[in-house]
């Protein structure tokens, strides 16, 4: 029994079908729980009630990056081992990642307005997310532009590979370009900078919720892609016969 067996579409459909209800339920429970718990936290002495947006902003930002990394792993798996489900999973993940990036940007702007006095600031972190969003858009556009699924999978795989390097490079180039207003990492390990536990635990729950939400969406979307490919395959066979 190896992990590669899940590359088999039939096996993937069966297993993902069994996991899916649990992922959906877990996502609903953790996201709602984390957000309600987060909403009930006391106001921050400095940031007031605006701090509560952190329970959406940080998990969304985290997922925006993690989903791209997941797409990179899936693309590499496709390019190296030619597992079709892997390529479809990368395709299915992209729009979710793009929306997560948008949520992170939007909540950041809403938070930044009262905090920094401006809706948009060319701060390194914000800018990096905008760039990440551009990479998501390019990736999605390429998938939809190439008709032949095999070529599309290969080309988007290469784009994801090159895009990852340049997204990372841009991250550091942007840092060089503008030092920025954004506070440091919300969950930095360094003592003293650390967020107080009152906020930290609901944030953890919310992050788990967003992760499960992604898992649920990924499974649903990958299953849809597999069904769509199966339909196309049957039509192609019909056309040839």
């Amino acid at each position: 029994m190896s992990i590669w067996e899940y590359a088999n579409p039939v096996k993937f459909m069966r297993t993902s079908g069994a996991i899916l209800p649990w992922a959906v339920a877990g996502a609903a429970l953790c996201t709602v729980g984390g957000l309600v718990w987060g909403f009930l936290t006391p106001e921050d002495y400095k940031q007031g009630s605006t701090v509560k947006i952190v329970f959406i902003h940080v998990p969304a930002a985290m997922m925006a990056i993690n989903i791209w990394v997941m797409m990179l792993v899936a693309s590499l798996t496709w390019l190296i081992r030619r597992h079709h489900v892997s390529a479809l999973a990368a395709k299915a993940a992209a729009p979710v990642g793009a929306v997560m990036t948008l949520i992170a940007l939007a909540t950041g702007a809403i938070w930044g307005q009262p905090m920094w006095g401006t809706w948009w600031e060319w701060d390194p972190r914000l800018t990096s997310f905008l760039i990440l969003f551009l990479f998501y858009v390019g990736y999605i556009a390429l998938w939809s532009a190439v008709e032949d699924p095999d070529s599309a999978a290969d080309l988007t795989g290469w784009l994801c590979l090159v895009g990852s390097v340049f997204a990372l490079l841009s991250r550091y180039a942007v840092l060089f370009w503008n030092q920025g207003l954004h506070q440091g990492a919300s969950l930095s390990v360094a003592e003293g900078e650390r967020m107080s536990a009152v906020y930290r635990y609901p944030l953890y729950l919310s992050m788990l919720g967003f992760f499960l939400l992604f898992l649920a969406l990924l499974l649903i979307r990958t299953r849809t892609e597999i069904r769509r490919r199966r339909l196309a395959a049957l039509q192609a066979r019909e056309a040839r016969a």
Binding site: P149, D150, I226, R229, A232, A233
Partner: protein
């Protein structure tokens, strides 16, 4: 020692196997003509032998740098003259002599004409002359006689015969009888791939069938 050896080859188009289980070999001086209805996979098979796409199964054994490929598009630049076009391809293939090719395809009167001003048949003749300047022994030809008139077809058949006599080989798909008495014919119809699950899917359309 054969120039081309194809063993148990399967090729795919549109993510599905087109033909499978094809085996043949070509020795020096031999020609093989592929036949079969439209869409059976002649072009795909020729492209696979030329190394432009990977085989789905089986193997194609050809010597390094031995194949010259010619298909519907001639690879001509309309802004360049006949000589410039030929000289370019000769240099890409590491050769200098283009006079023999010009003489063989009867292009002598067109040398300074830009390729844009040539007729379809003249372009085709220039495209076939390109085969000669490559100096490669194995010609892989996809419908080489399209848009040629009867005289030019005769001209090309003579060139082909000289190529075979000189120790070359040719693999081609054509509907026209080139009068190559010695050429073998391979009908691809019986090799048409049977739909069904394969060990290694050729593409999405097989992986999810």
């Amino acid at each position: 020692m054969s120039l081309v050896a194809v063993r148990d080859l399967a090729v795919a188009r549109g993510g599905m196997r087109a033909v499978e289980g094809v085996s043949f070999s070509l020795d020096r001086g031999e020609a093989l003509i592929l036949r079969g209805p439209n869409g059976v996979g002649k072009t795909t098979l020729l492209r696979t032998v030329a190394g432009l796409q990977p085989p789905v199964a089986g193997e194609v054994v050809v010597g390094d740098d031995s194949v010259a490929y010619a298909a519907h598009a001639d690879g001509l630049k309309s802004a360049l003259s006949v000589t410039e076009n030929l000289r370019f391809w000769a240099r890409v293939f590491g050769r200098t002599d283009i006079d023999a090719a010009i003489a063989a395809m009867n292009l002598g009167g067109l040398l300074e004409r830009p390729a844009a001003s040539l007729s379809a048949g003249q372009k085709r003749r220039l495209g076939l002359a390109r085969l000669l300047v490559t100096g490669r022994p194995v010609w892989v030809l996809d419908e080489p006689t399209v848009s040629l008139d009867a005289d030019s077809v005769g001209l090309f058949a003579a060139v082909l015969r000289a190529h075979l006599a000189g120790g070359g080989a040719a693999l081609m798909a054509t509907h026209i009888d080139l009068g190559l008495g010695e050429a073998r014919v391979l009908d691809l119809t019986p090799y048409r791939a049977k739909p069904g699950k394969a060990e290694t899917p050729a593409g999405f359309n097989e992986a999810f069938a």
